[in-house]
């Protein structure tokens, strides 16, 4: 296409020689972008539908209350793995939430200058560390020194996975709280730290809860950090210094086994896990869009 001003002015009034091609190109481009949106949805629906199809038949009370059956016997469930996942999440939250939220408060309220920038960057980088590496790290830190796999080590590994998300969410939501709330509090003579905790953090809390839900949804499905920390357990266990079963590890064990019976149970496990994760995501999303996302107005 020519670059002379006359030609450009001309093309605005009447279609020039390149005009038709230009519009065609644009239409092809739009179609390709739309196509990629459709392509992406195919695996999502394929996975969800397949998991529902294979897993739904196995959903029963026994699945949630029984122990895994020995090879060759039918029946049994993943009760211990369901409970184990909940315990591991609880441990991860107990360790990860104070650190994650505290660091978020540091980034938004306390930190200054270069140190804050470095810590914020580190939090992002930590979020990109492969979870298998976290597993190896926690193994060499905990399991080697304690001489056994334990739920505590597993929960610690999951905490490390969730901390970056919690930190960044907390920071972002604290930043959304209008500063005049703090100013009003300070003007009333409230000490700065009380303003931070009871005004700023309190206002941002619903939003932070949303972020925590998303972080929990992520760690609920993590397998790699657990296989050599919490390991697995065929029995009920509630002691945190012992190996503990979890849904993802149990699914992995059964999915890669040669027994049809076990594979069917793994599908049911996958269905339960996906339901849990999607439920957390959906709730968090709805809460956020309802304006519960802190001071997002």
């Amino acid at each position: 296409m020519s670059a002379t001003p006359e030609a450009r002015g001309h093309s605005l009034l009447e279609p020039g020689p390149g005009e038709r091609a230009r519009h065609l190109r644009s239409r092809i481009f739009t179609a390709l972008c739309t196509a990629s949106a459709i392509i992406v949805l195919v695996p999502l629906f394929s996975i969800v539908l397949y998991v529902v199809k294979r897993g739904l038949a196995g959903v029963s009370v026994a699945f949630f209350t029984r122990l895994p059956a020995p090879v060759g016997e039918t029946g049994g469930g993943m009760g211990n793995a369901v409970v184990g996942t909940l315990v591991l999440i609880a441990i991860a939250c107990a360790i990860g939430l104070p650190i994650g939220i505290g660091a978020g408060v540091y980034l938004a309220e306390v930190g200054r200058g270069r140190l804050r920038t470095v810590i914020r960057f580190t939090a992002d980088v930590l979020g990109g560390v492969p979870s298998i590496t976290v597993g190896v790290f926690v193994y060499s830190l905990f399991v080697v020194t304690m001489h056994r796999f334990s739920a505590l080590a597993g929960g610690f590994a999951l905490a490390l996975v969730m901390i970056p998300t919690v930190t960044r969410t907390t920071e972002e939501l604290l930043r959304l709280v209008p500063p005049h709330l703090r100013e009003a509090a300070l003007g009333l003579g409230v000490p700065a730290w009380r303003a931070s905790v009871f005004i700023m953090l309190r206002t941002a809390l619903p939003g932070i809860a949303t972020g925590v839900m998303l972080a929990v949804a992520r760690i609920a499905g993590e397998t790699a950090p657990l296989i050599f920390t919490a390991f697995n357990n065929r029995y009920w266990s509630f002691s945190i210094d012992r190996p503990m079963a979890s849904l993802p590890v149990q699914i992995l064990t059964y999915a890669t086994s040669p027994y049809k019976d076990w594979q069917d149970q793994a599908w049911t496990g996958a269905l339960v896990l996906i339901t849990l994760v999607f439920f957390l995501n959906l709730t968090a999303r709805i809460a956020a869009s309802r304006g519960l996302g802190g001071a997002r107005r």
């Binding site: 230009r22 481009f29 992406v40 650190i99 309220e109 930190g111 810590i119 560390v129 492969p130 000490p191």
Partner: protein, 332 residues
């Protein structure tokens, strides 16, 4: 007009001011504030300490292997636990090739999707579609792998791979029998898993491009493609590169799904249809069973390698993305 009202001047008394009432705390920061700041800073420093501790701990654990193999660990192709020979090359190769395959598939789709979500889709569609993409990111890795074994691998083995072999089988990259399990399966699964990452970061970057750029282009009679090509993409380019690096980073470290479909054979084959092995997979499969210190230490060195690569790539990507966003923020 010239009259200026004189303000009454308060009389200055020679009396000394009454002593200020005793304050509970001195004028500096009150104790509560200082404690609060101290504790929060401690939490912040914890974030700083974790990666440092990881590197230190993994270096410590992989000491034996680092000392025995040195740099040849990276290039040696022999992985023989029985004879205590450990070389990481087949795993590095498997990780890199499967991740690059994933990028080849995922990058065009993700960028197309991000442009669709930020510029082209009707506004009613944007939110639900964005949410569906987020759900894709939320599916646990082990479920991806499970689906891969039962749906993707048979599909590849029975229809996709025979077709590829029929038309391209003479090229070394597409040689061999259609096994299903292999690099291609791993690449496809990884592609699906990294699409949400690349899409969401790209979308963020595209959103940061000021609308005035778009409006100016449209005002000149630009079509949607012209607008994106000439007004949006040039300023978003380095941010998109950052998004791609973040996606690559996710692919390199992904463990369970890859382990379940890549075939787990420690051999670097040229063909993407052949089974391979990845660094994360070999750690997942063999770490708990490593029966000698050297074996364990070789696997820990692999984890260290993954960690260092992840740290470097993340630094680069975050820097690119934040630079792009800042530049745009300053301009608008």
């Amino acid at each position: 007009m010239s009259q200026v009202e004189e303000l009454p001047v308060p009389e200055v008394t020679s009396e000394p001011a009454p002593p200020a009432p005793a304050r509970p705390a001195p004028l500096g920061r009150p104790t509560g504030d200082r404690a609060f700041r101290g504790v929060m800073t401690l939490f912040g420093l914890t974030i700083l300490a974790v990666p440092a501790m990881m590197v230190a701990q993994l270096v410590h654990t992989s000491k034996l292997s680092l000392a025995k193999f040195g740099l040849s660990f990276l290039t040696s192709t022999k992985w023989d636990p029985v004879h205590q020979e450990f070389g990481a090359w087949p795993f590095i190769y498997g990780t890199v090739v499967s991740s690059l395959l994933a990028l080849v598939i995922a990058v065009p789709v993700s960028i197309g999707l991000a442009i669709f979500l930020s510029d082209l889709a009707p506004s009613r569609l944007r939110k639900p579609l964005g949410f569906l993409v987020e759900l894709l990111a939320a599916i646990p890795s082990v479920v991806y792998g499970f689906w891969g074994i039962f749906v993707l691998v048979p599909l590849l083995r029975e229809s996709v791979e025979p077709t590829i072999i029929k038309y391209l089988g003479s090229i070394p990259f597409f040689e061999g029998p259609p096994l299903g399990f292999g690099m291609l399966a791993a690449g496809v699964i990884l592609a699906i898993m990294i699409v949400p990452t690349i899409t969401s970061v790209t979308r963020e970057v595209l959103k940061a491009v000021p609308d005035t750029h778009r409006e100016a282009a449209i005002g000149l009679g630009a079509t949607p493609w012209d607008t994106i090509r000439y007004a949006v993409l040039p300023s978003a380019r380095s941010g998109i590169v950052g998004a791609i690096i973040l996606g690559l980073n996710r692919a390199l470290g992904e463990t369970m799904a890859v382990t379940m479909v890549i075939g787990n054979r420690p051999k670097a084959a040229a063909s993407i249809l052949a089974p391979g092995y990845s660094m994360a997979s070999v750690i997942a499969n063999e770490f708990a069973e490593a029966d000698s210190d050297l074996y364990l230490s070789a696997l820990a060195e692999m984890a260290l390698l993954l960690l260092v690569v992840a740290l470097v790539m993340n630094l680069a990507a975050r820097w690119l993305v934040s630079m792009t966003k800042n530049k745009m923020g300053a301009r608008s």
